[in-house]
């Protein structure tokens, strides 16, 4: 197909986090979008299509990042995509109220020499901060079109689309900005060498990356001609001797100098008199005294809302579930009816009712800018568990349900931090575990024993979190995050984001829940439960000192942990557990249920955030750990 006939155009949206990128993406693509993962990565990939003037336009929303330095997977994916997949046009969305930092990223995009436009978003917020930007001046400095917009109101977005299509058709490549004389001289020399080898990236960009010592590019070039790498190293060494800093920092500084110059030339700042409302809100929510009560209040409100709405929806769906289930008879019908449908409805009745309000509130808090404040306030506490402030919200949510908590761990930037956070979160006793602990130990052994189990749990979390922090490979990364100003959440974006996330979760979790349910019902119908209980008895009876029947309960608990208690009552034929279990057995059983495995929906969430291998490690570790702890508890308690 010749390029002239090509009707479809690919637009890639790129920019920092918190610049209104998703608002623009949602506006452009409406409901014609889907979120998946980048192949082989746990990074979200959002794509959508729209029709514009007889053309099909594919829009790809790249992750929100601050640089292309390959610090995180997101950064690597983004630059890899732009450099090798070559979208028809890159739309760089820039926050007008933080021009300098945003232009730093723009300058890096320019170096990828691709057709490109700049969208100057949130001009209203910039004006509130007393910043006015002279668009023609900015356009002249960057050498590419600049479109001012207010995405939340839809202002300027049609113009954006027109311009993007025009630039895509013209195929006019952006031109990199020039550095200082010394650096340019080195870039020129290295570029000359790079031009001689076949490589799909722009030669100048490769030269800059080599001087910066970028690991990935060094590897790629090194495989073709290692002499180029060592030559670049020498040139970088020259620069380091002059400046006394690592070459990557020299180049980063230089980029910021250019960004600063362009920003100063094209913007006028008249500082507003007195602090604005958002600044006062910020000061209050991060205040050493007032901030903590606010934080606790917000958290309670979140938990309360999620569980009130969740409980209500859950009850509603459960009624529906009973009606549908009644329609199926025994035998094979039971496997299908109870297993398949039961699993489906369990997903709808148990997981969805809590996921939905959770995502809504999380997206709302994220959009408003409160999340970074909460992270700021709790960083030092979370450090003691081997994670940092950003993991606070997932951690607290874990007490409600581990599933959204695990999904919430994606706010951690590096793989390492994300893994530790997800691991810690799965150790937090969720509401279902609380039902077991309170219903068994709290009711029949004593509430102080139940509290002791929770205390023990906290100690274990602190210890295991620290251990994970120590043993996982990679550079530990402390908290470094932007604190965007508070803003009014954009209702449509929040709703759409929530919808996409829920949909995404259903795709991953439901198959697992349903398969699990079918398998278990199959076992039940095939009368295999008792033999399995017998097979497990060396562990349950021998090691843990529990009745053999608990083996079956523990298997069912994988589906939903509170099932262990419900089924205990059914199988024993009594809800007065004191008649069938000794206090020691109750405590041991509760301990095992607390730790022994993340439930199947949590495993699904782990798979989604960390992929199969790590999810499997965590699951296996927790089973072993629960058995170890349960066995020790059994022996200690019988001594007493």
């Amino acid at each position: 197909m010749s390029t002239a006939e090509k009707k479809s155009i690919t637009i890639a949206l790129a920019g920092n986090a918190n610049v209104g990128k998703s608002v623009i993406f949602n506006y452009l693509t409406g409901l014609h979008q889907h979120i998946g993962n980048w192949p082989g990565k746990t990074v979200e990939k959002a794509e959508g299509t729209l029709h514009f003037k007889g053309r099909t336009i594919d829009v790809l929303d790249l992750p929100g990042i601050y640089s292309l330095s390959a610090f995180s997977i997101e950064e690597r994916i983004s630059r890899e995509y732009i450099a090798t997949e070559k979208p028809d046009v890159v739309v760089n969305i820039v926050d007008a109220s933080a021009l300098e930092r945003n232009l730093f990223f723009t300058l890096q995009l320019l170096e990828l020499e691709t057709p490109m436009i700049v969208v100057l978003n949130q001009v209203d917020m910039a004006e509130a901060k007393g910043i006015t930007i002279h668009v023609p001046e900015l356009q002249k400095s960057l050498g590419i079109p600049v479109i001012p917009t207010i995405a939340t109101r839809g202002t300027g977005l049609d113009k954006l689309l027109n311009k993007a299509v025009k630039v895509a058709k013209s195929k006019k490549l952006a031109r990199p900005a020039r550095y200082g004389r010394e650096i340019e001289e080195k870039i020129r020399r290295v570029t000359k060498l790079v031009k001689k080898i076949p490589i799909q990236y722009p030669p100048r960009w490769v030269a800059v990356k080599l001087l910066e010592g970028d690991e990935e590019i060094r590897k790629i070039v090194g495989r073709i001609d290692p002499k180029i790498v060592s030559s670049a190293e020498r040139h970088a060494g020259d620069l380091e001797r002059i400046h006394g800093e690592p070459c990557s920092i020299i180049i980063t500084s230089e980029r910021y100098n250019i960004a600063n110059k362009i920003a100063r030339k094209s913007q006028r700042i008249t500082p507003p008199r007195g602090p604005s409302l958002t600044e006062r809100l910020d000061a209050m929510t991060t205040h050493p005294l007032v901030g903590y009560p606010i934080l606790i209040g917000v958290m309670l409100l979140v938990l309360f809302t999620v569980f009130t709405i969740g409980g209500y929806l859950s009850g509603f769906f459960e009624d529906a579930m009973e009606i549908i289930q009644g329609a199926f008879g025994g035998g094979a019908g039971e496997v299908i009816g109870e297993g398949l449908l039961g699993g489906l409805i369990a997903g709808i009745a148990i997981v969805l009712p809590f996921i939905l309000p959770f995502y809504l509130i999380l997206t709302f808090l994220e959009d408003s800018g409160y999340l970074p404040r909460a992270a700021f306030m709790t960083d030092s506490l979370m450090h003691r568990m081997g994670i940092h402030g950003k993991a606070f919200i997932p951690f607290i949510l874990g007490y409600g349900c581990n599933v959204p908590a695990c999904l919430g761990c994606r706010v951690m930037e590096t793989e390492r931090e994300r893994t530790i956070a997800a691991f810690v979160v799965t150790l937090v006793p969720c509401a279902a575990v609380t039902v077991v602990v309170l219903g068994l130990v709290g009711a029949f052994v004593g509430i102080h024993w139940a509290l002791a189990l929770y205390l023990l749990n906290l100690v274990i979390i602190f210890i295991l979190g620290k251990v994970a922090f120590k043993v996982l490979p990679g550079e530990p990364m402390g908290l470094i995050m932007e604190m965007p100003p508070y803003r009014k959440p954009h209702a449509r974006s929040v709703l759409k984001e929530t919808w996409m996330r829920v949909k995404d979760f259903v795709y991953i979790a439901f198959p697992l829940i349903i398969i699990g349910s079918v398998v278990l019902t199959g076992l039940k119908v095939g009368d295999l439960l008792e033999p399995i209980g017998d097979v497990m008895s060396p562990v349950t009876v021998g090691w843990l000192g529990l009745p053999a029947i608990t083996g079956v309960l523990l298997i069912f608990g994988v589906l939903r942990k509170e099932l262990t208690l419900v089924m205990l009552a059914t199988l024993m034929g009594t809800a007065n557990f004191a008649t069938v279990l000794t206090p020691t057995q109750m405590i041991v059983f509760a301990i095992v249920v607390m730790y022994y495995i993340p439930c199947v929906a949590t495993i699904a969430a782990l798979v989604k955030e960390l992929r199969w291998k790590k999810a499997a490690y965590i699951t296996v570790f927790e089973i072993a750990f629960a058995l170890l702890l349960g066995g020790i508890a059994f022996r200690l308690l019988t001594l007493v």
């Binding site: 980063t252 992270a375 700021f376 506490l381 402390g478 908290l479 470094i480």
Partner: protein, 205 residues
């Protein structure tokens, strides 16, 4: 006369405090790569000489006298490190040699090197060298970044977010319990964990 090893101990304890870590027998021993037993002995000796307060199993606190020396040696160490890396010495030698030189370099020579290294000639003679870690700035205080130490990942990340050498930063406020710092830089606000911030060195304004 203060021995080199006394200086080393005071410097290590001061550095731990700057990083926001508690100084204990174990952490001091780790920092100096000596056996905990010899650290205990030395800490007791230093306590007797009133450089620090030492309660076994609790922790170590520098007295004003000890703090002054610790701070001075650490400052000299950093100035020498910077100087040596400008001379083009390999990284492996920079730290080792700075550890040696910090005990021998006279104050006025250090000041001269510092000024040359920083390209700053306006400091009046006798003014103290004032490169401090970001964590030692007060809320609302400004500083100009001198250099960023520590791992490559973290320092590149900080630079990407605008914390590059010779940039002005303002500490907006810091969280309780050795929590993170909120700083404003290039018209934006960032939160930086204390461990990370301890490796950002600024000239206070």
């Amino acid at each position: 006369m203060i021995t080199e090893s006394v200086e080393e101990y005071l410097e290590a304890i001061y550095r731990l405090g700057e990083r926001g870590e508690a100084a204990t027998t174990t952490s001091v021993a780790n920092e100096l790569k000596v056996a905990p037993a010899s650290a205990t002995q030395m800490l007791k000796k230093l306590a007797k000489q009133r450089y620090l307060k030492y309660t076994p199993y609790r922790g170590v606190y520098l007295t004003p006298k000890g703090k002054k020396i610790g701070k001075e040696i650490l400052r000299k160490h950093r100035v020498m490190e910077k100087f040596l890396s400008i001379l083009g010495l390999p990284k492996s030698r920079v730290h080792k040699d700075a550890c040696e030189l910090e005990h021998h370099i006279p104050d006025d020579l250090e000041r001269a090197i510092h000024q040359r290294v920083e390209g700053e000639k306006t400091l009046p003679p006798g003014a103290p060298s004032d490169v401090v870690s970001l964590t030692s700035l007060l809320d609302g205080q400004k500083g100009v970044i001198s250099f960023i130490g520590g791992g490559r990942g973290a320092s590149q990340r900080l630079a990407d977010l605008g914390l590059t050498p010779r940039t002005e930063v303002t500490v907006v406020r810091s969280a309780l319990f050795r929590g993170p710092l909120m700083v404003s830089v290039r018209g934006t606000t960032l939160a930086i964990g204390r461990g990370v911030a301890a490796r950002v060195f600024v000239r206070a304004k």
